[in-house]
């Protein structure tokens, strides 16, 4: 280990302060700090520090994403083989999925990190780890057949417009991963909706109907999946969103480690369940009749609520605000699903909309705190003059 460290220090010399390549130090440090937690010591403020850092926090999210990703890879192959009718094994399905999805992840990380590194060098700060999560999320919420260049373009749009334009990590209003998806959704609608995009190579297989459940409902068609299939995720859909089961495993990791806000997750589930229940009572059409329990397990609801709505930067930041934000995400998601068949998947738009409103929610909660302080001040002033 010390040998490796010495070697690295040797390699880093040209990037040291005052040296020729100083400007590119953030790019080199980004790799170095993944091998070693640096030897920096405290120089002001508290002399001792907690073991947690942003890298550890972000890597925890990635670990939470892995179960859903692995299932998504398998399901991609599974959906393909049952459509074509070929005999297949678990390994076949997994390999087929991996062949499709790994290039998407590579493109997402390649394009996104290139932009992040460029901005870190340009702004002279270290590379933030936030993109490690965003870069994995983006392919996970895309349809499997989307061309790689569209993935790259969506990533570039999301990182540049949704994140760096606002000042980089920690400053963005919208969740970058969802912005990438929304960009692809509105820019290339034919690749992002319909019945030919959700199953791998469906457009090359005749007579296949790879409609998502929400898509079928919106177009008034029958839904032929059992509740167990919806829950386990053996249904067509965006790559990693289909399995509520494995998303819940991720949720458990996020909640246990405290990295994801359970308030937002629970709030969203309550909001969606409540709204779904109300529509069930009303029951004017097939979408309203769709059971509130099923609403929670189909589409991207579970994935969006666990991994997207809980993004701490774009969500509400106060505790009370997190509850309000979470509940409204749930309510809006079901509202959009039921009332706007043009957008069968409501959770993406619901979260983006609430991202925009999150600062307003926080504003009023903090305003409450400010008013309390002002009132206290007036009260003591009165006592003094009396």
């Amino acid at each position: 280990m010390m040998k490796l460290r010495e070697k690295l220090d040797q390699l880093k010399k040209p990037f040291a302060k005052g040296s020729k390549w100083e400007r590119f130090a953030p790019a080199v440090n980004a790799f170095d700090t993944f091998l070693f937690v640096p030897n920096h010591t405290t120089h002001k403020g508290a002399h001792i520090r907690d073991a947690v850092d942003l890298k550890r926090t972000m890597v925890t999210v990635i670990i939470a994403l892995v179960p859903a990703l692995l299932y998504g890879i398998y399901n991609t192959g599974y959906q393909y083989f049952i459509q074509t009718g070929e005999a297949f094994t678990f390994i076949d399905a997994f390999l087929h999925g991996a062949m499709k999805i790994l290039p998407m992840i590579a493109v997402s990380y390649g394009v996104g990190l290139a932009i992040e590194f460029a901005f870190a060098v340009y702004r002279g700060h270290e590379v933030n780890e936030g993109y490690l999560v965003t870069g994995l999320l983006i392919p996970m919420i895309m349809p499997v057949d989307i061309p790689l260049w569209m993935v790259g373009l969506s990533v570039a749009f999301a990182v540049l417009i949704a994140k760096e334009a606002f000042g980089g990590t920690g400053m963005n209003i919208l969740n970058p991963a969802l912005t990438a998806r929304a960009f692809a959704f509105f820019a290339y609608p034919t690749y992002m909706s319909g019945n030919k995009v959700w199953v791998s190579e469906a457009s090359n297989v005749d007579g296949v109907s790879g409609e998502t459940i929400l898509g079928s409902l919106a177009s008034g068609a029958e839904v032929n999946y059992s509740m167990f299939e919806m829950f386990s995720g053996a249904i067509p859909g965006s790559i990693a969103e289909t399995s509520t089961l494995w998303v819940l495993v991720g949720a458990a990791i996020l909640i246990f480690t405290g990295v994801g806000s359970w308030r937002i997750m629970l709030g969203s589930v309550l909001g969606a369940a409540g709204m779904g229940f109300l529509f069930n009572l009303w029951g004017a059409n097939a979408l309203m009749d769709f059971s509130w329990v099923n609403h929670l397990i189909v589409g991207g609801f579970a994935f969006g609520v666990v991994f997207m709505a809980t993004d701490p930067v774009s969500a509400a930041q106060t505790q009370k605000g997190k509850w309000i934000y979470g509940i409204l995400v749930g309510v809006l998601c079901i509202l959009i699903r039921v009332f706007n068949p043009a957008y069968p998947e409501g959770v993406m738009l619901a979260i983006l909309l609430m991202n925009v409103f999150a600062p307003t929610i926080d504003h009023y909660i903090i305003e409450g705190n400010i008013n309390k302080r002002k009132k206290r001040s007036l009260k003591t002033a009165k006592v003094q003059t009396a």
Partner: protein, 450 residues
């Protein structure tokens, strides 16, 4: 009267090398120094030249912008050297103590009919005034203002902090006298003690006693003020360190300036962590040797506790306000893949991404490694966990960073001091320097609002 305050948010860190209940006399030294940098915001104007003789309690310098506040020598001897740093800023006033001590004696009026004005004048003239600090701004109290109350915390919760039951042991008379005299300066005096304290502190008269219980920062006077009688815009409260109350008391008993200090020497490299009776400004070298500090490893010596103290050199001197002398191993080392969750759980973490929560009673021996690098603020809700005030810490810090004075006022800047943010420094996953941010913001407020 006893009122209970229960604090729930915070963190009780158990660190290796806590001072044992042994009080020793510090080794003799004739090497003293007063550091003007201990008095935040004070521009020292020297009254003496190098080589001049001084008595204990004789003014060395005064504050340029508040010339009533005098800073006096803790011992009698010779002003040996004035050490200056960049821009001729005075860093140290080295004093060589005489073998026989002599002090300036002040004439005291009769105890019974001493007036508020006399107490104020005597404290200023005798050099006792710097013991009194004020909120807002956490600087030496402005003698031209009257506080709505004076707060004293005799409850220390910081990691490895000195226990005031031990520090104040045997100083009951002086402490009561100090409380009585401070009571002349403000309508109310609040004394906070540990809910578990069984010392004389619970029998002190002429003040409101608050029994406080909870994890750090429950012992911070700022947290106590917030729960007892918060500072509103335009109001001032004063705070005095617990041992400084006894020093003030002794002055009013004897008429001479008293710079006694009982310090807890603690930390994992200290073989014999214990309490030492010494004097403000005394050389720490001999004390460290007596406590058998491990010199074979790189260490950091801190005037104060490990969260808020000031790093000093081995041949340096005790600070003005601290009851702690903490020693930590330096953390100048790399850890391979140390960022992986659940790896390296021997380093404490408040976050559940480490397994250290499984061992709540475990005693840690932290070093000074940052355990990461500074990053943008991403995680929310973690600051609130260690900030037991009805204030939004992250929003306040952001207002401080953007120097938005109106927002800072609204969000409660008048109630806080840098030390209240020490645990945010500690626990922030973005490695935010919250104490430094708050200090700069308070300095800005002094300049803009006054």
């Amino acid at each position: 009267m006893s009122i209970d305050i229960k604090i729930r948010k915070g963190l009780q860190l158990n660190l290796k090398g806590a001072a044992e209940n042994i009080v020793k006399q510090a080794p003799q030294t004739n090497n003293y120094a007063l550091k003007p940098t201990d008095f935040h915001g004070v521009f020292p104007k020297l009254l003496l030249k190098e080589g001049q003789k001084i008595k204990a309690g004789e003014p060395l310098f005064f504050s340029k912008y508040q010339d009533k506040i005098k800073f006096v020598s803790p011992v009698s001897g010779t002003l040996k050297e004035v050490q200056r740093g960049a821009k001729r800023k005075i860093l140290n006033l080295f004093i060589e103590a005489d073998s026989k001590q002599s002090s300036i004696k002040h004439k005291l009026p009769k105890q019974e009919d001493i007036t508020s004005e006399q107490v104020r004048e005597l404290l200023l003239a005798s050099g006792n005034w710097p013991y009194i600090k004020q909120r807002p701004y956490d600087v030496i109290a402005d003698p031209d203002r009257s506080p709505k109350a004076i707060f004293i915390s005799a409850y220390a919760t910081a990691p490895l902090a000195a226990d005031f039951d031990i520090v104040l042991d045997g100083q009951q008379e002086a402490f009561q006298q100090g409380i009585d005299m401070l009571g002349k300066l403000a309508p109310k005096v609040h004394l906070s003690i540990s809910s578990k304290s069984d010392s004389f502190l619970s029998t002190i008269k002429n003040c409101d006693i608050h029994r406080v219980n909870g994890p750090h920062p429950a012992g911070n006077v700022g947290v106590q003020i917030h729960h007892i009688d918060p500072v509103n815009a335009g109001e001032t409260v004063w705070t005095v360190g617990a041992e400084d109350v006894a020093n003030i008391g002794r002055f009013f008993l004897n008429g001479t300036y008293d710079a006694s200090r009982t310090i807890a020497v603690s930390g994992s490299p200290v073989a014999q962590p214990s309490y030492y009776k010494t004097t403000i400004g005394a050389s720490i070298d001999a004390i460290l040797k007596d406590a058998e500090v491990d010199q074979s490893i790189p260490i950091r010596i801190i005037n104060g506790d490990v969260l808020t103290g000031v790093s000093v050199a081995q041949d340096s001197h005790l600070g003005y306000y601290n009851n702690n002398l903490s020693v930590l191993p330096e953390g100048n080392r790399y850890r391979m893949f140390g960022w992986l969750p659940f790896v390296g759980s021997s380093i404490h973490s408040m976050s559940n991404t480490s397994l250290s929560w499984l061992f709540p009673k475990r005693v840690y021996a932290p070093d000074t490694n940052m355990n990461g690098e500074e990053r943008a603020l991403v995680v929310t809700g973690e600051m609130e966990r260690v900030f037991p005030m009805d204030i939004y810490p992250m929003q306040l810090l952001k207002a401080c960073m953007s120097e938005d004075i109106e927002k800072m006022e609204n969000l409660g800047i008048y109630e806080v001091a840098p030390e209240d943010f020490a645990l945010i420094d500690y626990s922030s996953s973005s490695k935010l320097e919250a104490q430094a941010i708050v200090r700069e913001a308070l300095d800005l407020m002094i300049k803009e609002v006054g």
